[in-house]
Amino acid sequence: MSDVAVEVEQLARRYGRRWALVDVTFRVPTATVMMVTGRNGAGKSTLFRVLATAIRPDRGRATVGGFDVVHEREDVRKQTALLAHQNYLYESLSARENLDVVADHLRIGRDGIAGVLEQVGLAARANDVISTFSAGMRKRLSFARVLLQEPKIVLLDEPYGALDPPGFDLVDEVIRALKARGATILMTTHQIERSAQLADLTLMLEDGRVVGPAAGRPLSGPLDRGRAARETAAEPAAPQESVC
Protein backbone atom coordinates (compact mmCIF):
# COMPACT_ATOMS: atom_id res chain seq x y z
CA MET A 1 0.00 0.00 0.00
CA SER A 2 1.31 3.46 -0.81
CA ASP A 3 2.85 5.46 2.02
CA VAL A 4 -0.25 7.72 2.28
CA ALA A 5 -3.31 5.95 3.70
CA VAL A 6 -5.82 8.81 3.70
CA GLU A 7 -5.66 11.96 1.57
CA VAL A 8 -8.31 14.68 1.75
CA GLU A 9 -8.51 17.81 -0.40
CA GLN A 10 -10.91 20.72 0.29
CA LEU A 11 -13.64 18.37 1.42
CA ALA A 12 -17.08 19.95 1.98
CA ARG A 13 -20.42 18.47 2.96
CA ARG A 14 -23.71 20.24 3.49
CA TYR A 15 -26.82 19.29 5.49
CA GLY A 16 -29.54 21.46 3.91
CA ARG A 17 -28.90 25.01 5.16
CA ARG A 18 -25.70 24.20 7.07
CA TRP A 19 -22.21 23.32 5.85
CA ALA A 20 -21.05 20.64 8.27
CA LEU A 21 -17.66 20.44 6.50
CA VAL A 22 -16.49 23.59 4.74
CA ASP A 23 -12.87 23.09 3.69
CA VAL A 24 -10.88 20.17 5.08
CA THR A 25 -7.48 19.21 3.72
CA PHE A 26 -5.05 16.77 5.34
CA ARG A 27 -2.94 13.68 4.69
CA VAL A 28 -2.32 10.66 6.92
CA PRO A 29 0.70 8.36 6.27
CA THR A 30 0.17 4.60 6.58
CA ALA A 31 0.44 2.84 9.97
CA THR A 32 0.03 6.02 11.98
CA VAL A 33 -2.57 7.12 14.53
CA MET A 34 -4.24 10.48 13.97
CA MET A 35 -6.33 12.18 16.64
CA VAL A 36 -9.11 14.48 15.43
CA THR A 37 -10.37 16.93 18.04
CA GLY A 38 -12.86 19.77 18.07
CA ARG A 39 -16.04 20.89 19.80
CA ASN A 40 -19.38 19.19 19.20
CA GLY A 41 -20.66 20.07 15.76
CA ALA A 42 -17.18 20.83 14.42
CA GLY A 43 -17.76 18.21 11.72
CA LYS A 44 -15.72 15.31 13.11
CA SER A 45 -18.42 12.68 12.68
CA THR A 46 -19.37 14.01 9.26
CA LEU A 47 -15.74 13.76 8.18
CA PHE A 48 -15.55 10.15 9.32
CA ARG A 49 -18.83 9.25 7.63
CA VAL A 50 -17.50 10.70 4.37
CA LEU A 51 -14.23 8.80 4.68
CA ALA A 52 -16.16 5.59 5.42
CA THR A 53 -18.29 6.27 2.26
CA ALA A 54 -21.47 6.30 4.39
CA ILE A 55 -22.26 9.72 2.85
CA ARG A 56 -21.05 11.50 -0.27
CA PRO A 57 -19.13 14.78 -0.05
CA ASP A 58 -20.70 17.76 -1.81
CA ARG A 59 -17.35 19.14 -2.90
CA GLY A 60 -13.69 18.31 -2.79
CA ARG A 61 -12.00 14.91 -3.01
CA ALA A 62 -10.81 12.19 -0.67
CA THR A 63 -8.97 8.94 -1.17
CA VAL A 64 -8.83 6.18 1.43
CA GLY A 65 -6.38 3.32 0.92
CA GLY A 66 -5.69 4.78 -2.51
CA PHE A 67 -9.34 4.57 -3.63
CA ASP A 68 -11.69 7.51 -4.22
CA VAL A 69 -14.54 7.73 -1.70
CA VAL A 70 -17.11 8.68 -4.38
CA HIS A 71 -16.22 6.57 -7.40
CA GLU A 72 -14.59 3.52 -5.78
CA ARG A 73 -16.77 3.06 -2.74
CA GLU A 74 -16.70 -0.75 -2.84
CA ASP A 75 -12.88 -0.83 -2.72
CA VAL A 76 -12.76 1.75 0.07
CA ARG A 77 -15.28 -0.25 2.08
CA LYS A 78 -13.26 -3.44 1.68
CA GLN A 79 -10.35 -1.84 3.52
CA THR A 80 -12.06 0.30 6.13
CA ALA A 81 -14.12 -0.20 9.28
CA LEU A 82 -16.08 2.54 11.01
CA LEU A 83 -16.92 2.67 14.70
CA ALA A 84 -19.83 5.11 14.49
CA HIS A 85 -22.11 6.77 17.02
CA GLN A 86 -24.79 4.33 15.91
CA ASN A 87 -23.65 0.84 16.84
CA TYR A 88 -25.00 -0.91 13.70
CA LEU A 89 -26.37 -3.76 15.85
CA TYR A 90 -29.67 -5.65 15.69
CA GLU A 91 -31.45 -5.23 19.02
CA SER A 92 -33.38 -8.49 18.78
CA LEU A 93 -30.27 -10.59 18.04
CA SER A 94 -27.63 -11.80 20.49
CA ALA A 95 -24.01 -10.63 20.46
CA ARG A 96 -22.85 -13.81 18.71
CA GLU A 97 -25.71 -13.64 16.17
CA ASN A 98 -24.86 -10.02 15.36
CA LEU A 99 -21.29 -11.06 14.61
CA ASP A 100 -22.55 -14.10 12.69
CA VAL A 101 -24.46 -11.73 10.40
CA VAL A 102 -21.33 -9.63 9.87
CA ALA A 103 -19.15 -12.67 9.21
CA ASP A 104 -21.69 -14.11 6.73
CA HIS A 105 -21.87 -10.82 4.82
CA LEU A 106 -18.07 -10.59 4.79
CA ARG A 107 -18.04 -14.19 3.58
CA ILE A 108 -15.35 -15.11 6.11
CA GLY A 109 -16.02 -18.10 8.36
CA ARG A 110 -17.60 -17.73 11.79
CA ASP A 111 -14.57 -19.17 13.55
CA GLY A 112 -13.01 -15.77 14.28
CA ILE A 113 -16.01 -14.67 16.32
CA ALA A 114 -15.16 -16.42 19.59
CA GLY A 115 -11.67 -14.90 19.63
CA VAL A 116 -12.93 -11.39 18.94
CA LEU A 117 -15.62 -11.66 21.62
CA GLU A 118 -12.94 -12.80 24.03
CA GLN A 119 -10.76 -9.87 23.08
CA VAL A 120 -13.44 -7.32 23.90
CA GLY A 121 -14.45 -9.11 27.09
CA LEU A 122 -17.95 -10.13 26.03
CA ALA A 123 -17.39 -13.89 25.85
CA ALA A 124 -19.60 -14.41 28.92
CA ARG A 125 -22.53 -12.50 27.42
CA ALA A 126 -22.21 -13.87 23.87
CA ASN A 127 -25.67 -15.39 23.76
CA ASP A 128 -27.57 -12.55 25.44
CA VAL A 129 -29.77 -10.34 23.29
CA ILE A 130 -28.36 -6.86 22.63
CA SER A 131 -31.42 -5.14 24.06
CA THR A 132 -30.17 -6.32 27.50
CA PHE A 133 -26.73 -4.72 26.92
CA SER A 134 -25.52 -1.49 28.53
CA ALA A 135 -24.11 1.33 26.36
CA GLY A 136 -20.58 0.32 27.31
CA MET A 137 -21.15 -3.31 26.32
CA ARG A 138 -22.65 -2.20 23.01
CA LYS A 139 -19.52 -0.11 22.38
CA ARG A 140 -17.41 -3.18 23.12
CA LEU A 141 -19.48 -5.23 20.67
CA SER A 142 -19.08 -2.50 18.05
CA PHE A 143 -15.34 -2.80 18.61
CA ALA A 144 -15.63 -6.54 18.11
CA ARG A 145 -17.49 -5.81 14.87
CA VAL A 146 -14.58 -3.58 13.73
CA LEU A 147 -11.94 -6.14 14.66
CA LEU A 148 -13.78 -8.89 12.80
CA GLN A 149 -13.38 -6.95 9.55
CA GLU A 150 -9.58 -6.83 9.98
CA PRO A 151 -9.47 -3.39 8.36
CA LYS A 152 -6.38 -1.65 6.98
CA ILE A 153 -7.86 1.76 7.83
CA VAL A 154 -9.85 2.15 11.06
CA LEU A 155 -12.14 5.10 11.73
CA LEU A 156 -12.99 5.32 15.45
CA ASP A 157 -15.61 7.97 16.27
CA GLU A 158 -15.44 8.62 20.03
CA PRO A 159 -13.92 5.20 20.91
CA TYR A 160 -13.79 6.06 24.63
CA GLY A 161 -17.45 7.15 24.79
CA ALA A 162 -19.67 5.23 27.30
CA LEU A 163 -16.79 2.93 28.31
CA ASP A 164 -15.63 2.25 31.87
CA PRO A 165 -11.90 2.60 32.87
CA PRO A 166 -11.10 -1.04 31.92
CA GLY A 167 -12.77 -0.15 28.64
CA PHE A 168 -10.30 2.69 28.10
CA ASP A 169 -7.44 0.22 28.51
CA LEU A 170 -9.16 -2.09 26.04
CA VAL A 171 -9.32 0.73 23.47
CA ASP A 172 -5.66 1.59 23.89
CA GLU A 173 -4.70 -2.06 23.63
CA VAL A 174 -6.78 -2.56 20.46
CA ILE A 175 -5.33 0.57 18.85
CA ARG A 176 -1.78 -0.54 19.61
CA ALA A 177 -2.53 -4.02 18.26
CA LEU A 178 -4.03 -2.62 15.06
CA LYS A 179 -1.12 -0.20 14.61
CA ALA A 180 1.35 -3.00 15.15
CA ARG A 181 -0.35 -4.86 12.31
CA GLY A 182 0.28 -1.86 10.04
CA ALA A 183 -3.24 -0.47 10.11
CA THR A 184 -3.88 3.29 9.95
CA ILE A 185 -6.15 4.62 12.69
CA LEU A 186 -8.09 7.87 12.78
CA MET A 187 -9.96 8.63 15.99
CA THR A 188 -12.10 11.50 17.19
CA THR A 189 -11.98 12.11 20.91
CA HIS A 190 -12.55 14.56 23.70
CA GLN A 191 -10.06 12.83 26.03
CA ILE A 192 -7.15 14.74 24.52
CA GLU A 193 -4.60 13.88 27.23
CA ARG A 194 -5.24 10.15 27.00
CA SER A 195 -5.37 9.94 23.18
CA ALA A 196 -2.29 12.15 22.88
CA GLN A 197 -0.24 9.26 24.30
CA LEU A 198 -1.19 7.14 21.28
CA ALA A 199 -1.56 9.70 18.53
CA ASP A 200 1.32 10.46 16.16
CA LEU A 201 -0.59 13.29 14.47
CA THR A 202 -3.38 15.56 15.49
CA LEU A 203 -5.98 17.52 13.57
CA MET A 204 -8.28 20.15 15.01
CA LEU A 205 -11.61 20.96 13.40
CA GLU A 206 -13.80 23.96 14.05
CA ASP A 207 -17.00 24.74 12.15
CA GLY A 208 -16.02 22.42 9.32
CA ARG A 209 -12.52 23.82 8.83
CA VAL A 210 -9.05 22.65 9.85
CA VAL A 211 -7.72 25.10 12.42
CA GLY A 212 -4.48 23.53 13.57
CA PRO A 213 -1.89 22.43 13.80
CA ALA A 214 -0.84 22.57 10.16
CA ALA A 215 -2.62 19.58 8.65
CA GLY A 216 -0.81 16.26 8.79
CA ARG A 217 2.46 17.57 10.22
CA PRO A 218 3.57 15.51 13.24
CA LEU A 219 3.58 17.25 16.66
CA SER A 220 6.82 18.90 17.86
CA GLY A 221 8.09 16.10 20.15
CA PRO A 222 6.92 13.04 22.10
CA LEU A 223 7.58 14.65 25.55
CA ASP A 224 5.55 17.79 25.25
CA ARG A 225 2.94 16.10 23.09
CA GLY A 226 0.26 16.53 25.74
CA ARG A 227 1.15 20.22 26.27
CA ALA A 228 1.27 20.95 22.52
CA ALA A 229 -2.10 19.31 22.07
CA ARG A 230 -3.58 21.33 24.94
CA GLU A 231 -1.92 24.46 23.55
CA THR A 232 -3.35 24.06 20.06
CA ALA A 233 -6.76 23.37 21.54
CA ALA A 234 -6.61 26.59 23.55
CA GLU A 235 -5.13 28.80 20.81
CA PRO A 236 -7.87 31.17 19.58
CA ALA A 237 -8.55 30.18 15.97
CA ALA A 238 -8.33 33.05 13.45
CA PRO A 239 -11.91 34.42 13.14
CA GLN A 240 -13.30 32.87 9.97
CA GLU A 241 -16.08 34.95 8.42
CA SER A 242 -18.17 32.05 7.13
CA VAL A 243 -20.69 33.07 4.53
CA CYS A 244 -23.31 30.35 5.16
Binding site: A54, R56, R73, R77, Q86, Y88, S92, D104, H105, L106
Partner: protein, 219 residues
Protein backbone atom coordinates in the same frame (compact mmCIF):
# COMPACT_ATOMS: atom_id res chain seq x y z
CA UNK B 1 -24.33 -12.79 -0.35
CA UNK B 2 -28.08 -13.41 -0.81
CA UNK B 3 -27.96 -16.42 1.51
CA UNK B 4 -26.33 -14.30 4.21
CA UNK B 5 -29.05 -11.64 3.84
CA UNK B 6 -31.81 -14.27 3.80
CA UNK B 7 -30.43 -16.07 6.86
CA UNK B 8 -30.39 -12.77 8.74
CA UNK B 9 -33.95 -11.93 7.64
CA UNK B 10 -35.36 -15.28 8.70
CA UNK B 11 -33.60 -14.99 12.06
CA UNK B 12 -35.05 -11.51 12.55
CA UNK B 13 -38.51 -12.70 11.57
CA UNK B 14 -38.26 -15.68 13.89
CA UNK B 15 -37.44 -13.30 16.72
CA UNK B 16 -40.49 -11.15 15.92
CA UNK B 17 -42.93 -14.04 15.32
CA UNK B 18 -45.27 -12.69 17.99
CA UNK B 19 -45.72 -9.69 15.68
CA UNK B 20 -46.82 -12.01 12.89
CA UNK B 21 -49.51 -13.46 15.15
CA UNK B 22 -50.78 -9.95 15.84
CA UNK B 23 -50.93 -9.17 12.11
CA UNK B 24 -52.85 -12.40 11.46
CA UNK B 25 -55.41 -11.41 14.11
CA UNK B 26 -55.65 -7.99 12.43
CA UNK B 27 -56.33 -9.64 9.05
CA UNK B 28 -58.92 -12.03 10.47
CA UNK B 29 -60.64 -9.14 12.26
CA UNK B 30 -60.76 -7.24 8.96
CA UNK B 31 -62.44 -10.19 7.23
CA UNK B 32 -64.99 -10.33 10.08
CA UNK B 33 -65.71 -6.62 9.75
CA UNK B 34 -66.27 -6.96 6.01
CA UNK B 35 -68.98 -9.53 6.65
CA UNK B 36 -70.66 -7.20 9.13
CA UNK B 37 -70.54 -4.49 6.51
CA UNK B 38 -72.38 -6.73 4.04
CA UNK B 39 -74.72 -8.47 6.48
CA UNK B 40 -75.58 -12.16 6.88
CA UNK B 41 -76.44 -12.61 3.20
CA UNK B 42 -74.26 -15.68 2.54
CA UNK B 43 -74.74 -15.54 -1.22
CA UNK B 44 -73.33 -12.00 -1.48
CA UNK B 45 -70.52 -12.83 0.97
CA UNK B 46 -69.53 -15.82 -1.12
CA UNK B 47 -69.41 -13.86 -4.39
CA UNK B 48 -67.21 -11.14 -2.84
CA UNK B 49 -65.13 -13.48 -0.65
CA UNK B 50 -62.09 -13.21 -2.96
CA UNK B 51 -62.19 -9.43 -2.78
CA UNK B 52 -62.43 -9.46 1.01
CA UNK B 53 -59.54 -11.90 1.34
CA UNK B 54 -57.26 -9.71 -0.72
CA UNK B 55 -58.41 -6.47 0.91
CA UNK B 56 -57.73 -7.98 4.34
CA UNK B 57 -54.31 -9.15 3.11
CA UNK B 58 -53.51 -5.74 1.60
CA UNK B 59 -54.41 -3.87 4.79
CA UNK B 60 -52.37 -6.24 6.97
CA UNK B 61 -49.47 -6.07 4.49
CA UNK B 62 -48.95 -2.38 5.24
CA UNK B 63 -48.36 -3.30 8.89
CA UNK B 64 -45.75 -5.96 8.17
CA UNK B 65 -44.08 -3.89 5.44
CA UNK B 66 -43.87 -0.70 7.53
CA UNK B 67 -42.29 -2.69 10.37
CA UNK B 68 -39.96 -4.67 8.14
CA UNK B 69 -37.26 -1.97 8.16
CA UNK B 70 -37.62 -1.04 11.83
CA UNK B 71 -34.77 -3.32 12.87
CA UNK B 72 -32.57 -2.02 10.02
CA UNK B 73 -33.10 1.63 10.85
CA UNK B 74 -33.00 1.30 14.67
CA UNK B 75 -29.23 1.43 15.03
CA UNK B 76 -28.61 2.12 11.33
CA UNK B 77 -27.85 -1.59 10.98
CA UNK B 78 -28.57 -1.37 7.24
CA UNK B 79 -25.80 1.23 6.82
CA UNK B 80 -23.55 -1.03 8.87
CA UNK B 81 -24.11 -3.84 6.39
CA UNK B 82 -23.65 -1.60 3.37
CA UNK B 83 -20.26 -0.45 4.72
CA UNK B 84 -18.90 -3.97 5.19
CA UNK B 85 -19.36 -3.89 2.05
CA UNK B 86 -22.39 -5.94 1.16
CA UNK B 87 -24.31 -5.79 -2.06
CA UNK B 88 -27.44 -3.59 -1.82
CA UNK B 89 -29.25 -5.78 -4.37
CA UNK B 90 -28.71 -8.82 -2.16
CA UNK B 91 -29.99 -6.88 0.85
CA UNK B 92 -33.09 -5.83 -1.11
CA UNK B 93 -33.91 -9.30 -2.41
CA UNK B 94 -33.24 -10.78 1.04
CA UNK B 95 -35.71 -8.41 2.62
CA UNK B 96 -38.23 -8.67 -0.26
CA UNK B 97 -38.21 -12.49 -0.13
CA UNK B 98 -38.64 -12.40 3.67
CA UNK B 99 -41.60 -10.00 3.34
CA UNK B 100 -43.03 -12.13 0.54
CA UNK B 101 -42.77 -15.25 2.69
CA UNK B 102 -44.45 -13.49 5.61
CA UNK B 103 -47.32 -12.22 3.41
CA UNK B 104 -47.77 -15.62 1.74
CA UNK B 105 -47.98 -17.35 5.13
CA UNK B 106 -50.46 -14.68 6.24
CA UNK B 107 -52.51 -15.22 3.07
CA UNK B 108 -52.61 -18.98 3.51
CA UNK B 109 -53.56 -18.53 7.17
CA UNK B 110 -56.45 -16.22 6.19
CA UNK B 111 -57.92 -18.72 3.71
CA UNK B 112 -59.58 -20.92 6.39
CA UNK B 113 -61.02 -17.77 7.98
CA UNK B 114 -62.47 -16.82 4.61
CA UNK B 115 -63.85 -20.30 3.99
CA UNK B 116 -65.60 -20.32 7.37
CA UNK B 117 -66.90 -16.75 7.37
CA UNK B 118 -68.01 -16.55 3.75
CA UNK B 119 -68.70 -20.23 3.01
CA UNK B 120 -66.16 -19.82 0.20
CA UNK B 121 -64.86 -23.36 -0.01
CA UNK B 122 -62.83 -24.39 -3.06
CA UNK B 123 -61.49 -27.62 -4.45
CA UNK B 124 -58.67 -25.95 -6.37
CA UNK B 125 -56.46 -25.46 -3.32
CA UNK B 126 -53.24 -25.70 -5.33
CA UNK B 127 -54.51 -23.07 -7.76
CA UNK B 128 -55.47 -20.81 -4.85
CA UNK B 129 -52.02 -21.29 -3.30
CA UNK B 130 -50.36 -20.28 -6.60
CA UNK B 131 -52.48 -17.12 -6.78
CA UNK B 132 -51.67 -16.21 -3.18
CA UNK B 133 -47.95 -16.74 -3.81
CA UNK B 134 -47.96 -14.60 -6.96
CA UNK B 135 -50.24 -11.93 -5.49
CA UNK B 136 -48.19 -11.49 -2.32
CA UNK B 137 -45.05 -11.31 -4.48
CA UNK B 138 -46.68 -8.39 -6.28
CA UNK B 139 -47.26 -6.67 -2.95
CA UNK B 140 -43.82 -7.43 -1.53
CA UNK B 141 -41.59 -6.08 -4.31
CA UNK B 142 -42.75 -2.44 -4.42
CA UNK B 143 -43.77 -2.64 -0.77
CA UNK B 144 -40.22 -3.42 0.33
CA UNK B 145 -38.83 -0.55 -1.76
CA UNK B 146 -41.32 1.93 -0.33
CA UNK B 147 -40.85 0.50 3.19
CA UNK B 148 -37.12 1.27 2.90
CA UNK B 149 -38.00 4.87 2.04
CA UNK B 150 -40.75 5.50 4.54
CA UNK B 151 -38.96 3.74 7.42
CA UNK B 152 -36.65 6.77 7.55
CA UNK B 153 -39.62 9.19 7.85
CA UNK B 154 -41.71 10.26 10.79
CA UNK B 155 -45.12 9.52 9.24
CA UNK B 156 -44.19 6.08 7.88
CA UNK B 157 -47.48 4.37 8.74
CA UNK B 158 -49.36 6.88 6.58
CA UNK B 159 -47.07 7.43 3.63
CA UNK B 160 -46.47 3.76 2.79
CA UNK B 161 -50.14 2.95 1.96
CA UNK B 162 -50.46 6.26 0.08
CA UNK B 163 -47.60 5.22 -2.20
CA UNK B 164 -48.32 1.50 -2.35
CA UNK B 165 -52.10 1.21 -2.84
CA UNK B 166 -52.40 3.01 -6.20
CA UNK B 167 -49.36 1.17 -7.49
CA UNK B 168 -50.57 -2.38 -6.85
CA UNK B 169 -54.03 -1.93 -8.45
CA UNK B 170 -53.16 -4.34 -11.31
CA UNK B 171 -51.91 -6.99 -8.86
CA UNK B 172 -55.02 -6.54 -6.73
CA UNK B 173 -57.37 -6.78 -9.73
CA UNK B 174 -55.61 -9.88 -11.07
CA UNK B 175 -55.43 -11.60 -7.68
CA UNK B 176 -59.07 -10.95 -6.84
CA UNK B 177 -60.26 -12.05 -10.26
CA UNK B 178 -58.15 -15.22 -10.27
CA UNK B 179 -59.16 -16.08 -6.70
CA UNK B 180 -62.86 -15.56 -7.39
CA UNK B 181 -62.57 -17.82 -10.44
CA UNK B 182 -60.98 -20.42 -8.19
CA UNK B 183 -63.81 -20.13 -5.66
CA UNK B 184 -66.87 -19.48 -7.83
CA UNK B 185 -65.79 -21.67 -10.72
CA UNK B 186 -64.20 -20.72 -14.00
CA UNK B 187 -66.34 -22.05 -16.91
CA UNK B 188 -64.50 -20.16 -19.67
CA UNK B 189 -61.08 -20.68 -18.11
CA UNK B 190 -60.23 -16.97 -17.82
CA UNK B 191 -58.19 -17.38 -14.65
CA UNK B 192 -55.01 -18.23 -16.57
CA UNK B 193 -54.94 -14.84 -18.34
CA UNK B 194 -55.19 -13.06 -14.96
CA UNK B 195 -52.40 -15.23 -13.55
CA UNK B 196 -50.23 -14.30 -16.55
CA UNK B 197 -50.90 -10.62 -15.87
CA UNK B 198 -49.99 -11.14 -12.22
CA UNK B 199 -46.77 -12.88 -13.25
CA UNK B 200 -45.89 -10.00 -15.59
CA UNK B 201 -46.49 -7.46 -12.82
CA UNK B 202 -44.26 -9.46 -10.48
CA UNK B 203 -41.43 -9.77 -13.00
CA UNK B 204 -41.50 -6.06 -13.81
CA UNK B 205 -41.44 -4.88 -10.22
CA UNK B 206 -39.09 -7.51 -8.79
CA UNK B 207 -36.47 -6.35 -11.30
CA UNK B 208 -37.22 -2.60 -11.31
CA UNK B 209 -37.34 -2.23 -7.52
CA UNK B 210 -34.14 -4.26 -7.18
CA UNK B 211 -32.36 -1.78 -9.43
CA UNK B 212 -33.77 1.30 -7.69
CA UNK B 213 -33.21 0.07 -4.10
CA UNK B 214 -29.58 1.18 -4.03
CA UNK B 215 -30.62 4.80 -4.68
CA UNK B 216 -33.01 4.71 -1.73
CA UNK B 217 -30.55 3.45 0.87
CA UNK B 218 -27.25 5.03 -0.22
CA UNK B 219 -26.58 8.69 0.74
Amino acid sequence: MLTAALRKELLLQWRSRSQMMAVFVFGAAALLLFSFAIGPNTEALRTFSAGFLWLGLLLSSTLTLAESFHAEMENRALEGLLLLPSNPHALYYGKAIANWLQLAVLGVALVPVMVVLYDAGTTQLLNLLLIIVLGTAGLSAPGTLYAAMTAQLKAKQMILPLLLFPLIVPALLASVKATSFAILGDPMGQATSWIVLLLAFDLIYWSLCGVLFRLVVEE
